[in-house]
Amino acid sequence: MINAGTGNEAVEATQTFTYPSPFRAFWSGFSANRGAVIGLAFMLLVLFCALFAPLLGLHDPIEQFRDASLLPPAWYLEGTWTYPLGTDEVGRDLLSRLCFGARVSLLVGLCAVLMSLIPGVALGLAAGFFPKVTGKLIMRAMDIMMALPALLLAVAIMSILGQGIINAMIAIAIVALPGYVRLVRASVSMELGRDYVIASRMNGAGLLRLMFLTVLPNCLAPLIVHATLSFSSAILEVAALGFLGFGVQPPTAEWGTMLAAARDYMDRAWWVVTLPGVTILLSVLAINLIGDGLRDTLDPKLKRVA
């Protein structure tokens, strides 16, 4: 027995261990979730269309072909492959408008997420680290913002700031802010009680190091999930603001604005309404699937025990 024991130690001493990188561990968990992978594939397609829209040889999204207005998609008898998904009421190519619209929607979504993520993290950290006065002030302000319906608040902000795509982003970012602040504060106050924070303080960490290097990385998992999910709601809100006539102004192609403009032709030409609507639906669904996959992979409570 003793010999076997020393033998094992000798083996162990010469052995080297390789640990899987965090990214690989994440990917093996994420790729096991089929819905998330499908969602990711769809979003990559949308992203590709958005990024390379000018290079795909499409028509100009705002060019009007007056003699070809309200043409159905190509697989109909009246349709032609010149306009694969048909044209709208003034003869603009729908496929091209959807691709260029994706640029606006994704960009606005991304900017809105970043614009609420960054101040949200800062405010949440402040609220978590100074719960007595600063934290209470921040949280009550967030409560007031949450007491107003999201779209109403966005419309109110838009009417103060004026129309335009930048203001739409700001409005959406402000509306999403309380969610981030509450999430970060909750994670921070949970993490603050852990021994490793005390250990880090003992090792001489100052306040900023403690906030951003010690605690914040441990709050990232729920934050990534929340950011993904609020990306999809930002796209929806851009579309909603566009539909209501705020936000992106015609003739710029944007999914919500397309939907609003096509409303009157719904009974004659289903495609002008359905295609932007389905695009919004599928994108939001895909992002939500990705978000669910991220949550399943990143949330330690749901993690399979190795």
Binding site: E12, Q15, Y19, D195, A199, N203, G206, P217
Partner: protein, 324 residues
């Protein structure tokens, strides 16, 4: 001169008018290169004392002391910034639960190197070499490949070794170990204790060992302080205190060790529990649980008095009880 001098240290929580004294008038000194044991039940103020010394209580607890000196420097008058330069470098601490005391977001190597960078200013290959040497010092097999491991990829014992490596990274003169083996299983407990004691000897550190395991203290410590409800009830040397406990509480703790109950049908235990914030008796704090408590014990609080064996906080220490 002692390395760490604590005189009349009190830590209180809660409202100013009705403070709850978690530590009450503790006096303790720790000598260079010695092992000091602090023993007591849960809630007797052992950990709070050490957190106060390390300056980790800032916001919640109010700390008062006549004297709090480390290596000749006054810790009380020091600014937080100056104090941060000492803690983690010259005085360091090992925590109870190794799984919780390492940051889950960073690799083991990063966490060791962070301390070395901040306190010793090491860079580049010297930094890596020192981190590796530390992991080897705490007897981690295949140390080089462990630098890339995240805490969740290591076992409890291995994590505690890493935590010890971080604590001794800057060659501290004082190491506080707050129940370093409580969260580990029995076979690993012995290994970690052996490691701590051998490191204490080779690095000539002072080690303050907070524990509720009297057997461990009897084996490794030179001095013991028994704490109860925030107060030191008995202080003395090893092995004298184990042979002649003066305080009834110490005696009861010793009697509750399973090895002292061989052949008995029932393990002798101490009934009741440490009084909390609202149920502290007016007299001696141990009185409700003491087998020898007299009327005087229930009305007055005894002071810590010096004896030839150390110090004891009791009106009727055991030696006087046995010779009526």
């Amino acid at each position: 001169m002692s390395l760490l001098e604590i005189q009349n240290l009190s830590v209180s929580f809660g409202p100013e008018a009705q403070p709850f004294k978690a530590v009450d008038g503790l006096t303790l000194s720790v000598q260079q290169g010695e092992v000091t044991g602090i023993v007591g039940e849960s809630g007797s103020g052992k950990s709070v004392t050490m957190m106060a010394i390390m300056g980790l209580l800032e916001s919640q607890g109010r700390i008062t002391a006549d004297r709090l000196r480390f290596a000749g420097q006054d810790l009380l008058s020091m600014s937080a910034r100056e104090r941060r330069k000492i803690t983690g470098k010259s005085m360091s601490m090992v925590f109870q639960d190794p799984m919780a005391s390492l940051n889950p977001s960073y690799t083991v190597g990063y966490q060791i190197m962070e301390v070395l960078k901040v306190h010793l200013g090491l860079r580049g290959s010297a930094l890596r070499a020192r981190a590796l040497a530390l992991l080897e010092l705490v007897e981690i097999p295949a140390a080089a490949s462990r630098l890339q491991a995240y805490p969740h990829q290591l076992s409890g014992g291995m994590s505690q070794r890493v935590a010890i490596a971080i604590a001794i990274a800057c060659n501290p003169t004082l190491l506080i170990a707050d129940e370093p083996t409580t969260a580990l299983d029995v076979t690993i407990q012995a290994q970690i204790m052996d490691l701590l004691v051998s490191l204490q000897k080779t690095q000539n550190m002072a080690l303050v060992l907070i524990t509720h395991d009297l057997a461990v203290v009897a084996e490794v410590a030179q001095h013991v302080t028994v704490m109860y409800a925030g107060q030191a009830v008995e202080m003395g040397k090893v092995p004298d205190m184990f042979r002649h406990p003066q305080h009834p509480y110490t005696q009861a703790l010793l009697k509750a060790i399973p090895e002292h109950n061989k052949g008995e049908i029932r393990l002798s235990t101490l009934p009741g529990m440490v009084p909390g914030q609202y149920d502290r008796p007016t007299g001696c704090l141990v009185a409700p649980r003491c087998a020898y408590a007299a009327d005087r014990c229930r009305q007055q609080r005894p002071e810590l008095t010096l004896t030839d064996l150390g110090a004891v906080r009791c009106f009727y220490p055991i030696s006087s009880l046995e010779t009526p």
